[in-house]
Amino acid sequence: MNMSPVSPSAPSAPAHPPTVPLAIDDLTVAYNEKPVLWDIDLDIPEGKLVGIVGPNGAGKSTLIKACLDLVPRASGRVMIYGEPYKKNRGLVGYVPQRESVDWDFPVSALDVVAMGTYGRIGWCRPVGKKHKQEAMEALERVNLADYAHRQISQLSGGQQQRVFLARALAQDARLYFMDEPFAAVDASTEKAIVTLLHDLKSQGKTCLVVHHDLATVSEYFDWLILLNLRVVQSGPTKEVFTQENLKATYGGKLSALVEAGEELRKMRGVGK
């Protein structure tokens, strides 16, 4: 723990008020005795667009999955708005990685988006008109209403990603976890996602987004988690996105990225 800089927002008391969307204490996750996340402590304030950045294998996806109870925790706890996930899961929306499903599945875009409402429908009950309507509205928000009845394999990669985002919108959550929504999408989808993120932020919602592209970090996110097995730094992007912190996160792997970071710093300097 003393190796990593202390998070500026480290909790002073273990109790978490219900206004904090996500509070993680002392989280450790291990696969086959090999820890993939160590002693994670995080507090995320409400209404932020939070980027999760780190090298491959840093445990970014695992962090999200641990928050959603999808992987077993070796220790620690995760609080969503002051309660465990099980209790407050209705407040959470999830966008998995696009590659995690088989897009050849015989469903339409609307069917997939309607899955976002399943959590509210209840067991053994059919998807009603009201839920389909909600799904349609979510599709409209990502500009895919015209594609509602297409089989999902007939959509482009970017459109598929937007279908997943629409499904999360249909969940009508307050805290969103998104696993690499920007991975391999065309520029127009990227723009659409950014607009959507700002939309959500203006509604006071919080989004945690696993991100790969360092060049767009300071443009897209106002809060940043630098992750490499442990939290290297977490805080407002302006304070956290520095050359030293990036080096501490990426280590030797940064060499190619150093210059990019340098450029960015200059750009930001100019911006001020």
């Binding site: 999955k65 959603l68 109870d69 999808l70 996930y85 099980k86 899961r89 959470v92 999830y94 998995p96 995690s100 499903v101 088989d102 599945f105 015989p106 469903v107 339409s108 069917d111 997939v112 899955m115 399943y118 959590g119 429908i121 067991w123 053994c124 059919p126 998807v127 089989q151 482009s156 990669g157 970017g158 499904r167 065309d186 520029a187 127009s188």
Partner: protein
């Protein structure tokens, strides 16, 4: 093949289920087909089709062991309910072992299933051999391997009816749960659904159908009933609900037809005939399936190739006219056309003769051809739309790649009228220097969409 009148009446007798025994068998296999079609479609979507293979083979030792235990205990070893109970227990044990191997070791699914399947089957054969030594009453146990439809009785029918209704109701009630589990298990778990429980329930349904179906078609061929109807249905639709219903129908139809044929030709074992009928349904769907059948896909590709060929030819001629700066529809020489694209002699002449049939061009003299009025209009449209695409790619290279549909006809449909107008203005500006023949069509009115 011509049928004698006597044979026709025999066939009618079977198909119309006049004979009580036949009726029982045919309706039973029909029900079995429906049940396995319904359950099997979820198995297919979950990519667990081979699990039914493992399961059915793993049932055998349960049958053998149950017989031995009951006989040694002094009971009736051939009591069907007891044997089926034994089969269910060992079947589920086999499935549980596959899951355990998958979850605790690095052995993959296919290997795990292969191991469990063969070991359980071997164990079953050993138990059956031991059972034979216990006395003559064990004769007939091996019918579970290949099935013996003709020996079905009222009790079997009732059992099948119960299982079919249960499977149908379960699948209907849990349709959205099963579908989400099959499509995106992780998302289902993020909703805090008990995915393991759902999985177990699905495997329970598969077990129930397998066990009751074993008597009818045998434990080896029941697999075909689970996999084939669902796989065949997939060729016809892109909607899981339709696929689900279709799969049940194909299964039921195969059971009905198969059992009927085997009742009509009693020397043919029903299980084999049923599977062959299902196989025919699969082959038919593979070729003629309306959504993704081979013919459908082939036809689509063929149309595409023709369309591209026509567009290339007309554009080639049009560009020749532009090169000559004649700005009118005049004859061009075929020889010059070769320079426009990498056509071989045969390819070009095939294109020309097809375009002639379509009234797009006419051959004026031996090596010169001229476009018809409609061909000229088409050519102008193709050329213009193609250039709009190219301009779009240049202007919007960063956004464009995924939006571009190389089919010239779709330019307005994809890009929208506003953008097309903007591109046209730019195109016109470029062409101030080298004017193009005016397009005879109003591009804004949506021609060719």
């Amino acid at each position: 093949m011509s049928l004698f009148p006597a044979e026709i009446s025999e066939v009618m007798e079977v198909l119309l289920l006049r004979n009580y025994n036949t009726r029982l068998v045919v309706i039973s296999t029909l029900l079995l087909g429906v049940a396995s079609g319904l359950v099997g479609s979820f198995l297919l979507l979950r990519k667990r089709s081979l699990m039914s293979d493992t399961l059915s083979h793993a049932c055998l030792p349960g049958i053998g062991l149950m017989f031995i235990l009951v006989t040694l205990g002094g009971g009736d070893g051939k009591s069907i309910p007891l044997l089926l109970t034994g089969a269910s227990i060992s079947g589920l044990l086999g499935v549980g072992m596959v899951t355990a191997i998958r979850n605790t070791t690095k052995i993959k699914d296919d290997a795990a299933m292969g191991i469990v399947l063969s070991v359980f089957f071997g164990l079953g054969v050993v138990f059956l051999s031991v059972a034979q030594t216990l006395g003559g009453s064990a004769a007939g146990l091996e019918t579970f391997i290949y099935g013996k439809t003709a020996s079905m009785v009222e009790q079997d029918y009732q059992l099948l009816l119960g299982v079919t209704v249960a499977a149908g109701v379960m699948c209907m009630l849990l349709q959205k749960e099963f579908t989400l589990m099959c499509f995106d298990e992780e998302f289902a778990r993020s909703l805090a659904w008990p995915v393991h429980g759902l999985d177990l329930l699905l495997m329970g349904l598969v077990t129930a159908v397998t066990v009751v179906g074993m008597q009818a078609v045998g434990l080896i061929l029941i697999i075909a009933f689970m996999i084939i109807p669902a796989a065949a249905a997939r060729f016809w639709t892109e909607r899981y609900r339709v696929m689900w219903i279709l799969s049940g129908c194909i299964g039921g139809l195969s059971g009905w037809l198969g059992a009927s044929v085997s009742a009509w030709l009693p020397r043919l074992p029903a299980g084999a005939v049923i599977v062959l009928v299902a196989g025919c349904a699969f082959l038919f769907s593979l070729f003629f399936g309306g959504a993704r059948g081979v013919l459908k896909l082939g036809l689509r590709r063929h149309h595409m190739r023709r369309k591209v060929g026509r567009q290339h030819l007309l554009r080639g001629i049009y560009e020749l006219l532009e090169d000559e700066k004649t700005f009118a529809n005049t004859p061009v020489s075929i020889k010059q056309l070769y320079a426009k694209r990498s056509w071989t002699h045969t390819e070009l002449h095939k294109l020309i003769s097809r375009a002639k049939k379509e009234d797009h061009i006419e051959v004026v003299s031996g090596d010169r051809l001229q476009m018809s009025e409609s061909g000229f209009a088409e050519a102008a449209r193709y050329t213009r739309n193609h250039r709009l695409w190219e301009l779009y790619l240049i202007r919007f290279a960063d956004v464009a790649a995924r939006h571009v549909d190389r089919d010239a006809d779709r330019v307005e449909h994809v890009l929208g009228p506003e953008l097309v107008r903007q591109l046209e203005a730019e195109l016109d500006a470029v062409e101030e220097m080298s004017p193009v023949i005016e397009s005879p069509h109003d591009l804004h009115s949506g021609v060719g969409i």
